[in-house]
């Protein structure tokens, strides 16, 4: 019998074109996503070396990072932003790459549109010049973010050079309690192991909690893998995965689908396969989470107090600087902290399930008058679902408006910037200094915690509304 392998080993090993002695593996890439911000210099590089795109059908372009989320039918006002969008369109056209630009009915955040159109499949290698490419690991793919030199590399050669990372398994067993969403699970894990706890590792998520999770929930979890330093995270494909994928626009059909299913069923960690690190958590210990600091590892239960510096793994100086930036102090209660902005959206929580969750709390209630809320669907497909399911009516009656798809205030590259000093409860993925705008203060949370904050105007326990 052959040596037991992990899911990660199976997918990685199937993509090694060449092993370099004393060096990285040459890894074949099945799918490559590009967007307007990290691709223009890669195309310039290609031209500089008189190279071309090797397999244009394996690359997909969408505009998302630097697009407006209102009045998308108008010309983009900022000339630099417009120039990036033009460059993407021009390059995609020149090299015959599929391009879902601004205004296209398939347009949206790259990590939302890839899966919802069936471009992402189990057993693939997937890269994009964006660290949240880890999202696609929810389908049992090896997916990770790359830099612009590597974008150029993949365009020119469909390969990337990577040393094989170490392997970590994170198992969460049990039943999540009331009001605990996939976002809370992953924020809890990151708080336990810190923002650098998985650096150098590729993670597999295992256990009942992930087995019972929807694909949207799994994407939220895998998306945040990078926030604990992991290059990526993946979940073995199962019936939930296949039923999500079947019939999507670009999913394999008919005979091709039937041939792939038996292969996909082999994509799981064998009994007896080993990991460099194996961690286990209990869902019963997890309550709705919120962050209070300036990295995603600085989070706690929403009913908890801000930890004392001496209980934190990172250095006390960095921790105190972090609290100072946030305008918080050790031992303060998170409940009742004032909230100025609420942001629902991003590749972490911009899918239909997230809007359903948000709507479940704001239904029949009203947005707090002093709160500015930006609700940004991850794609036009999600936007249409929100309308078709009647969620838009619920949101409108509660005093909310829906914006148009894009990355928006998650990285604040467009106009959607939280003003300096203001507090935003955000369903996105990073609470770094200035991430949502210079001087902005971000509290990461689930769509339920965001909804509770939106209606009360302060950090609140969403369970009181469920």
């Amino acid at each position: 019998m052959s040596t037991p392998k992990t899911l990660f080993d199976k997918v990685w090993d199937a993509h090694v074109v060449r092993q370099i002695e004393g060096g990285p593996d040459v890894l074949f890439i099945d799918r490559h996503f590009i967007h307007e911000v990290t691709s223009p210099v890669a195309f310039l590089g290609l031209e500089g070396r008189h190279a071309s795109v090797l397999f244009s059908e394996r690359t997909f372009a969408t505009a998302d990072h630097n697009t407006p989320t209102i009045n998308q039918h108008l010309p983009v006002a900022d000339p630099q932003s417009a120039s990036q969008l033009d460059a993407l369109e021009r390059n995609a056209h020149k090299y015959d790459i599929s391009h879902w630009g601004l205004g296209h009915q398939k347009n949206g955040i790259v990590h939302v549109v890839g899966p919802e159109n069936g471009i992402t499949l189990p057993g693939m290698t997937i890269v994009c010049g964006d660290s949240h490419t880890s999202t696609h690991g929810a389908f049992g793919a090896i997916a990770f973010g790359i830099g612009t030199s590597e974008v150029e590399m993949v365009l020119a050669t469909q390969c990337i050079m990577q040393p094989k990372p170490k392997k970590m398994r994170i198992t969460v067993n049990g039943q999540p309690g009331k009001g605990v969403l996939s976002k809370d699970i992953i924020l809890y894990v990151i708080a336990q192991i810190s923002a650098s706890g998985a650096t150098g590792y590729f993670v597999e998520y295992a256990g009942q909690v992930f087995e019972n999770m929807s694909m949207e929930g799994r994407m939220t979890v895998c998306n945040m893998s990078i926030e604990m330093g992991a290059r990526g995270g993946m979940i073995a494909p199962d019936a939930t995965t296949l039923s999500y994928l079947k019939g999507r626009d670009l999913s394999p059909k008919g005979e091709q689908w039937d041939k792939l299913v038996p292969y996909w069923q082999t994509l799981k960690t064998d009994e007896g396969a080993t990991f460099d690190v194996d961690l286990t958590f209990d869902a019963a210990d997890i309550e709705p989470q919120i962050t209070y600091g300036t990295n995603p590892g600085l989070g706690t239960g929403v009913t908890q107090h801000i930890p004392m510096a001496d209980t934190i793994k990172d250095g006390a100086a960095s921790y105190k600087k972090s609290l100072q930036y946030m305008g918080f102090a050790e031992n303060e209660s998170m409940l009742g902290k004032p909230v100025d902005f609420v942001f629902l959206g991003s590749c972490t929580n911009g899918r239909i399930e997230d809007f359903r969750a948000f709507a479940s709390i704001v239904k029949g209630r009203q947005k707090a008058s002093h709160v500015t809320a930006w609700l940004v669907p991850g794609s036009h497909v999600v936007e249409k679902q929100i309308q078709d399911e009647g969620i838009l009516d619920i949101l409108t009656q509660a005093g909310f408006e829906l914006r148009q798809p894009g990355c928006s205030a998650c990285l604040a590259m467009n106009e959607d910037k939280i003003p300096a000093g203001k507090y935003a409860v955000s369903t996105s993925n990073r609470n770094f200094e200035g991430r949502q705008g210079p001087g902005a203060r971000t509290l990461l949370a689930s769509p339920l915690v965001a909804a509770a904050a939106a209606v009360t105007g302060e950090v609140s326990d969403p369970r009181q509304f469920i």
Binding site: R18, T38, Q80, S131, T148, T199, M413, R430, E433
Partner: protein
């Protein structure tokens, strides 16, 4: 894009002991709108380096005359653990290179940043937490103290005391950096092998 070959580097260093320096701090997203790789050094650590009215923040290390060598930019940046976490933006490595640094030393690098750094010609040198403390202490005692990074020998040395530590780098990447090669040249040379491999993929 071509970069300077890296063999032996001697320079005084800029200390930045903060932990978890993420790439949003190295270069904020609003400076990622360019379509060419030009001028990113001007916005390196923008919001730590400048006030909102664009005046320099006097207490930030890059604005501190103690850590400038009479107009000569220092080529080594020494950072706290988990340097370069967060966003995959290679612009962070471009900004560091464009500012004049050729080497970043830390006890721990985020994976994507490490790759990006090497790909643009910056050597990431990972040292033990103890050696990192020694470096910070040495710079504090004498801001002009010099470090030597010897890539062929894979050593980092505090020249004043001779304290030294070896660092790891795989031989392929080492060969690239010392000769100014890049991965794409290598991969283009195996194009036939890649095309044959692609034929075997089921999707």
């Amino acid at each position: 894009m071509a970069y300077d070959k890296f063999t032996i580097l001697r320079s005084s260093a800029v200390p930045m002991p903060n932990e978890n320096v993420d790439t949003d701090q190295i270069i904020p997203a609003r400076f990622l709108k360019a379509t060419e790789r030009k001028g990113f050094g001007d916005n390196l650590f923008r919001d730590w380096r400048y006030n909102s009215d664009n005046t320099p923040k006097a207490d930030f290390v890059l604005n501190n005359p103690t850590y400038s060598s009479e107009g000569v930019s220092r080529k080594i940046l020494v950072g706290g653990k988990n340097f370069g976490s967060g966003s995959s933006r290679e612009h962070a490595a471009w900004a560091i290179y464009d500012y004049g640094f050729r080497c970043v030393v830390s006890s721990f690098f985020a994976d994507i940043f490490r790759n990006n750094a090497i790909n643009v010609g910056i050597l990431p040198v990972q040292v033990s937490p103890e050696f990192l403390e020694k470096i910070f202490a040495a710079i504090e005692a004498d801001p002009q103290t010099e470090l030597e990074i010897n890539l062929p020998e894979q050593t980092i040395t505090l020249l004043a005391t001779g304290d030294s530590e070896s660092f790891a780098i795989n031989s392929y990447k080492k060969n690239n950096l010392t000769n100014g090669y890049d991965d794409i040249d290598y991969l283009l040379s195996m194009k036939n092998e890649i095309e044959a491999f692609a034929e075997t993929r089921p999707f």
